[in-house]
């Protein structure tokens, strides 16, 4: 219907955004008594979200005319932003920014590099930036989940952890059950995404590829590639994080500081 009134692609896009934003506001207005604060937050979040994504679109449009290496700059910027967001989520863990940055860089960086070397992800800005951003964003979410769950596990098991230390255990041994619980919990959504692929949801990248003319079968297989890449990056980032985090929540004298 909108296409009857708007003839340029940009105007149509803006109109579609308005419809989507108003629909979200209408739903929140309907449910305003459940979360009044969210109704106030939503318009700001919508304006911020659309401004950010339009800015990225503009940068992409500019980069498409520039050299390939600029995509690495964008991905590096994304990793820095992702680490900063994780740090805000895990403020109680000392030096969380560096921890998150190292983990995301190793997790997302190594997995993306392997996929590029094998040619699975083409070294083109149009592929590398969108797929890379999906991998980084999901790795960030998994990192936040991991650190938040670990904080919860540690603060609710201070007695058990200090009992283990008091029996002569080193911090790694004292923390092991809680690291394992946090590692498992943070990867459940990624595993469930792979498990439910095609049955519960058909993610955006597949829809986008089909819309831009790719064969649906190839788009489907590529969607699996993207999701498993996301899983590998998330799992590797959390694995790295699980090795680095112990030194941050224990002192050099092996005393628990997170409580």
């Amino acid at each position: 219907m909108l296409s009857h009134f708007f003839h340029s692609q940009f105007a149509l896009g803006v109109a579609e955004c308005l419809v989507a934003a108003l629909l979200a506001l209408a739903v929140m207005l309907l449910a305003r008594k459940r979360a009044p604060g969210l109704l106030k937050e939503l318009p700001i979040a919508e304006i911020r979200g659309v401004a950010q994504i339009v800015a990225v679109g503009a940068i992409l449009a500019f980069m498409l005319r520039g050299p390939q290496w600029t995509s690495l700059l964008v991905l590096t910027g994304m990793m820095l932003a992702a680490a900063s967001i994780v740090r805000n989520r895990a403020k109680q863990i000392p030096r969380a920014f560096l921890l998150a940055l190292t983990s995301i860089c190793v997790g997302a960086g190594v997995v993306l590099a392997i996929m590029i070397v094998f040619g699975v992800i083409p070294l083109k800005i149009t592929m590398l930036v969108p797929v890379g951003s999906m991998v980084i964003a999901n790795t960030m979410n998994t990192q936040s989940l991991f650190l938040d769950r670990l904080r919860g596990e540690v603060t609710s098991h201070v007695g058990e952890i200090e009992s283990a230390l008091a029996l002569g255990a080193n911090p790694d041994a004292a923390l092991l059950p809680y690291l394992n619980a946090a590692f498992r919990a943070c990867l459940i959504p990624s595993v469930d995404n792979i498990r439910s692929l095609g049955i519960v949801w058909i993610p955006g990248i597949m829809a986008g590829m089909v819309l831009s003319g790719a064969s649906p079968l190839f788009a489907a297989l590529y969607q699996f590639v993207v999701l498993t890449t996301i899983f590998s990056a998330s799992a590797l980032a959390c694995f790295v994080s699980s090795h680095l985090v112990t030194r941050r929540i224990f002192t050099a004298q092996e005393q628990l500081v997170l409580r």
């Binding site: 007695g159 200090e162 009992s163 008091a166 029996l167 002569g168 041994a173 004298q253």
Partner: protein, 229 residues
Amino acid sequence: MPAIFQLACKNLGRVLPPPEPRTLLAEVNFELERGEVLAVVGPSGSGKSTMLRLLNRLDEPSSGTVWLNGTDTHTLVPREVRRRMGMVMQRAYLFPGTVGENIAFGPKQHGRTISPDEIEAQLAYVGLTGYASRDALTLSGGEAQRVAITRALANDPEVLLLDEPTSALDEAARLGVEALLESLIRERHLTCVWVTHSIEQARTMADKVLALKSGRVNAYGPAAEVLRA
């Protein structure tokens, strides 16, 4: 410091760092020979638990020295200090797994395997015959604390630190665990620092008493003298 003392400390203290600097404990001195029991008494918040945590370095002292059998504990790795000073806390804090796995945990940390027969013998001593394969998290409070005591002793510690180990138990369990601790201390000639609220317990068990008030030593000396005052 003469090596005769199993455990001694001089000017032991802890001050919280900024932004909220506060003295938790200051200038604690005591000396314990092998087999002696020191009762640490005082109101809540007087620094009793802090003192135990500083002794086995679960917290870092801001000042003072602790000697274990004549060795300055700061020259040892913290886990070595903790292994040599067993600690029983107010609650048992058993690990998920069987009772036997809990008891084997400490020795396993320094590469020693404890045999099932040895575990059974230790459990029999604390009145828990046949408990080795039981799920540790299904035990009653009194049973769990008995396992925690056995777990601490499985490391063959030179000193036993008891942080009000019966304060979270009901009356019947408390009496049982106290009787067990008293017999363990006497029969095994254990050197012990026992934080307690009970003056009666201090009178019965302790050779020396250290009374704390607001993080400072209010009185220290032979039990009979301190408790008479």
